[in-house]
């Protein structure tokens, strides 16, 4: 490479193919790894990849590829890149993009497209993927001219990673990938309508500081924005300065140390009782990078009904969307907290903390650890054996909620879960992306027996690339969360929620991974230990209590202070 480059006297005279320019432009963004799956209209790009320095991880399904890019982005904070062909390849990305969109994850997705002359004629494997993904991407592009390619890539990365991050798709007709054109970097972005972050109004900071000084019962409600913004230290300082309790959303887990005395765990539908009581009783709610999702608020009319609300968010459209806000603060969470900390005075609301500590004592998260293996116990054991230092991904269901409740997350980007979309099948491919991004760390996918079958093919990817992920299936023989709702809200009519499952150990074996079945409590710790020590892809089939429920629970649409269990 070095020699070659020295030989090139004038870069502007070099003709490159569109595909080469595409890859060069991606590399120029600092990307060294992409996740993809080839096909006809992506072949020019794959041909260029053959000679490129970019590492390509071949998934086994485009949904897996998108989730892997997503997991990579969540774990590293860098944008994840995925590549697919036109038509079915592109439509298979859709769930992955929607998932990333809901959780504000930076992904750049590149799809091959039929040639420009064939567009709009229902050509073989043509799908209007920019049309399809408009509502589930932050922005998307259909490249119409080879000369636009490099700038488009630059703009896509800029949009994906700045402000409130999100997925951006670039659709590249194959004749553009094949065209030979001059490569003349650098390209400037031209986005007159894009403003990543609003300016923070200093007056609002002062208003917030006043409200905080007046509060007797302040509560901090932190969401995924804290992690995206890298504001965990600022959050900790805010909480400690005010001695104010902190509750996190599912997406916010890891943004505040799980073992901290001021931490109340998660709030909302499966939140702790004390977190939800605190929301109902607080007189000041400081929402930090959170968006008042209905799984968090329950019935809106009674949510934090005694409180003034301060809402800090980088996306102005989130402020006032679901609840009326008293003190809106637009801006990047980290920068806003910094400014706020500069003017804050300590406010030690003793009585409030005593009340909360009494709730904590009276209503702890609890389960009965006798008889069969309890799913909650499995999570606690994974915590113990990994010293709380693993990167945890999850699928969606009861096991996901138990992971949030019983694994005490101490670091940002350590809990990687599908929050907004709730996508079963996310955890395994996400774990692959996490392991690619963090090769030296222990990665666990906490899975359900239902969810794991939605992207099980990605086990092959893990084996293929020697990615030592650990999949812990909490096998309850049910679509457990569905069964729980049927038990509680549909008169125990278990309509199509019981599962017939394959032999997961044999399945792991067939893929070339290690399968370990755990049926007794005393086998669990040694099995987990062995899985980690093997440094290979491992799938643990852990047979747990069949009909355990995630508790406490706020019935859908109910008030947070009316919890069952």
């Amino acid at each position: 490479m070095g020699d070659l480059q020295e030989g090139m006297t004038d870069m502007t005279e070099i003709k490159l193919s569109g595909a080469e320019i595409l890859l060069k432009s991606i590399e120029a963004e600092g990307v060294d790894t992409i996740f993809g799956y080839p096909g006809g209209m992506a072949l020019p790009i794959y041909d260029a990849l053959y000679d490129s320095g970019i590492r390509h991880i071949l998934g086994r399904h485009e949904q897996g590829v998108a989730h892997a890019a997503d997991g990579y982005a969540r774990a590293t904070g860098r944008p994840g890149v995925c590549l697919a062909t036109s038509g079915p390849g592109a439509t298979n990305l859709v769930t992955g993009l929607a998932n990333a969109f809901m959780d504000s994850i930076p992904i750049v997705a590149i799809t091959g497209q039929v040639t420009r002359p064939s567009l709009g004629r229902d050509s073989f494997q043509e799908a209007d993927i920019t049309g399809i993904t408009m509502p589930i991407t932050k922005h998307n592009f259909l490249v119409k001219e080879p000369a636009e390619l490099a700038r488009t890539v630059k703009e896509a990365f800029y949009i994906a990673t700045t402000g409130r991050p999100g997925p951006v798709l670039i659709d590249v007709p194959s004749d553009i990938s094949l065209s030979q054109i001059d490569y003349e970097p650098p390209y400037e972005i031209n986005l007159p309508g894009y403003k990543p972050a609003p300016d923070t109004d200093a007056r609002q900071i002062n208003k917030a500081a006043e409200a905080i000084a007046d509060a007797r019962r302040p509560l901090i409600y932190a969401g995924g924005g804290v992690i995206i913004s890298g504001a965990h230290d600022e959050l900790l300082r805010l909480a400690e300065t005010l001695a104010a309790p902190v509750t996190c959303t599912l997406m916010g887990m890891g943004g505040f140390p799980g073992s901290h005395p001021l931490f109340l765990g998660m709030l909302g539908m499966h939140g702790t009782k004390y977190a939800n009581f605190a929301v109902s009783e607080c007189d000041l709610l400081i929402a930090v990078g959170a968006r008042f999702d209905n799984r968090v608020t329950g019935k809106l009319e009674t949510f934090a009904s005694k409180a003034k609300i301060i809402h800090i968010d980088i996306d102005p459209a989130e402020i006032g969307k679901n609840v009326k806000v008293d003190i809106p603060i637009e801006g990047d969470v980290k920068a806003v907290l910094d400014q706020l900390l500069a003017v804050l005075r300590p406010n030690l609301a003793e009585a409030w903390r005593e009340k909360i500590n009494a709730w904590k004592k009276e209503y702890p998260l609890k389960y009965c650890n006798s008889g069969n293996i309890k799913p909650q116990y499995v999570i606690e054991e994974i915590y113990n054996i990994t010293g709380g230092n693993a990167r945890i991904t999850t699928e969606v269901g009861q096991h996901q909620m138990w992971a949030a409740q019983y694994y005490s997350f101490s670091k940002p980007r350590s809990f990687i879960t599908s929050g907004g979309l709730g996508t079963m099948g996310f955890g395994l491919p996400a774990a692959i992306g996490v392991q690619v991004g963090c090769p030296d760390e222990v990665v666990f996918d906490i899975a359900g027996d239902g969810s794991i079958q939605m992207n099980i093919q990605e086990l092959c990817t893990a084996v293929n690339y020697d990615l030592p992920i650990n999949v812990a299936i909490l096998n309850n023989g049910y679509l457990g969360l569905v069964r729980q709702w049927q038990e509680m809200f549909y008169n125990r009519r278990y309509s199509h929620s019981e599962l017939f499952n394959p032999d997961f150990v044999k399945l792991a074996d067939a893929y070339g991974a290690v399968g370990i079945r755990v049926t007794r409590k005393e086998e669990l710790a040694p099995a987990l230990q062995r899985a980690i020590q093997l440094k290979k892809p491992v799938m643990l089939d852990i047979i747990v209590d069949k009909e355990d429920n995630v508790l406490p629970i706020v019935p859908p649409g109910g008030s947070l202070d009316k919890m069952l269990g």
Binding site: T130, M134, L142, P192, Y194, K195, A317
Partner: protein, 173 residues
């Protein structure tokens, strides 16, 4: 209350779909929508009439701003403005009633743009009030077809509602 939003957008393919899609998926209603080129060929102007309270408008405004292709939004109704709409009306007009209709056309300063043995096609421009009044007076004759362009609007005086090359930042200050 009705609001007229003047939205300056990049003239990219799909921009209309993006805006229409945003309205439908977030449950905003469009009363009328008119799209056209501006003095700058890379920029189009959409005049969108919507009805809703402050909170509704604020949310709509913020969501529209998030579209990368949206350069600037101004709520024209917050200032003094002029608005116009062009309407074509085909009305039944046999020989006996033709004179009567032509009198109305005169009164409303409308124009006859096409004539057939049984119908007249009339063009009228104006604001809502005038158009509704005209439509009401023609109804007894039998309106066979009616097409409206949707409203376009501009601020009064020297202020430009959507000057080119202004961005969201300037608009907010």
């Amino acid at each position: 209350m009705k609001h007229i939003l003047s939205v300056l957008v990049e003239n990219n393919p799909g921009v209309l779909t993006r805006i229409a899609g945003l309205f439908s998926r977030r449950g905003f209603n469009i009363d009328s929508l008119a799209v056209g080129m501006t003095e700058n060929s890379s920029v189009s102007r959409m005049t969108i009439v919507v009805e809703g309270d402050e909170r509704y408008l604020e949310q709509l405004n913020k969501q529209l701003h998030k579209l990368v292709d949206v350069i600037k939004i101004s709520d024209i109704t917050r200032d003094a403005y002029v608005d116009r709409e062009l309407v074509l009306i085909k009305v039944s007009a046999d020989a006996a009633r033709r004179a009567e209709i032509m009198q109305l056309v005169d009164i409303f300063r409308a124009r006859i743009v096409d004539v057939s043995p049984k119908t007249l096609t009339i063009e009228i421009t104006g604001n809502d009030g005038k158009i509704i009044a005209f439509e009401d007076s023609l109804r007894p004759f039998g309106i066979k077809e009616l097409v409206r362009t949707g409203k376009i609007a501009m601020l009064r005086g020297k202020k430009a509602s959507t000057k080119n090359h202004t961005n969201k930042e300037e608009e907010e200050s």
